[in-house]
């Protein structure tokens, strides 16, 4: 799975996710990537989210929307909301994976509960970094 969240100069957030799903899948299985609120979500009032991982669990948790809801209703920061869902709720249910989350102030987080996640960011000054391992 690949994904991107972005904040433009007008203060608008967007999120996108694209995937091939899981190897050896059957029966027209659909994962979380195309399910709005599960693997992909964006709302200027809170954040933009793209997830990657065991899709069935993201669907059951409404993971992306849950991160946004924690920011909206519990006033959590991007990092706190993302960590709560990806590092606590997801593994507690038996799932795993990661997410990238970005808010309207340019704060971002990319938590994951696997051994690695291909990821990177670039900010206003054009300073970018990529990471793979924990």
């Amino acid at each position: 799975t690949v994904g991107c969240v972005a904040l433009d100069q007008y203060g608008n957030l967007a999120a996108g996710t694209s995937t091939g799903g899981m190897t050896n899948k059957k029966y027209g299985r659909v994962g979380d990537a195309p399910i709005i609120g599960a693997g992909t979500y964006a709302e200027n009032a809170t954040c933009a989210v793209s997830g990657t991982g065991w899709g069935e669990f993201y669907i059951r948790l409404s993971a992306a929307h849950d991160i946004a809801s924690l920011m909206k209703y519990s006033n959590l920061s991007v990092q706190q909301a993302a960590d709560s869902v990806i590092l606590k709720k997801l593994p507690a249910l038996g799932g795993n994976g990661g997410a990238i989350v970005l808010d309207r102030q340019g704060n971002f987080a990319f938590p994951f509960c696997t051994s690695g996640m291909y990821r990177g960011y670039i900010t206003r000054k054009g300073e970018g970094k990529v990471f793979i391992f924990k």
Partner: protein, 177 residues
Amino acid sequence: GPITLVIHGGAGNILRENLTPEKEAAYRERLTAALDSGYAVLERGGKSTDAVIAAIRIMEDSPLFNAGKGAVFTSEGINELDAAIMDGSNLMAGAVAGVTTIKNPITAAYAVMTKSEHVMLTGKGAEKFAEEQGLDIVPNSYFFDSTRYQQLLKAKANEKNREAQWIDPYIKDKKFG
């Protein structure tokens, strides 16, 4: 505003000892290219949705990632792709699921969001819609990657022994994007 772009290329059982220096360099190069592509859109005043598409297309076109070219195989030995996009300014959203011939599924998701009254289209209908919108259509063989095909063969070989699937760290990755 503080233009910012963040990407991921999948999470899973990614260990340094399992990644050759050449492979790691290749991943870092493509991730950087995706960042640069999306950032270029933002830097010239483009919209966040366009930046998202620009970054994701780079990764969809690379066989390194499980999306677009290089996607994993279904049990039937084909590539079936899903994608979604959402605009935070108006809560518009678009998605495609189970498509097999759209070169860049993220562009199809965007077309669903902006050119239809729907949120998600699936399978043949989504492909027909994408074709009508003038998006790039390719034969399913375009997505083929030999490493991914070997993963399918290994998954099938282990299918008879379900227990083996859960203890084999290589097969465990089949769940991940």
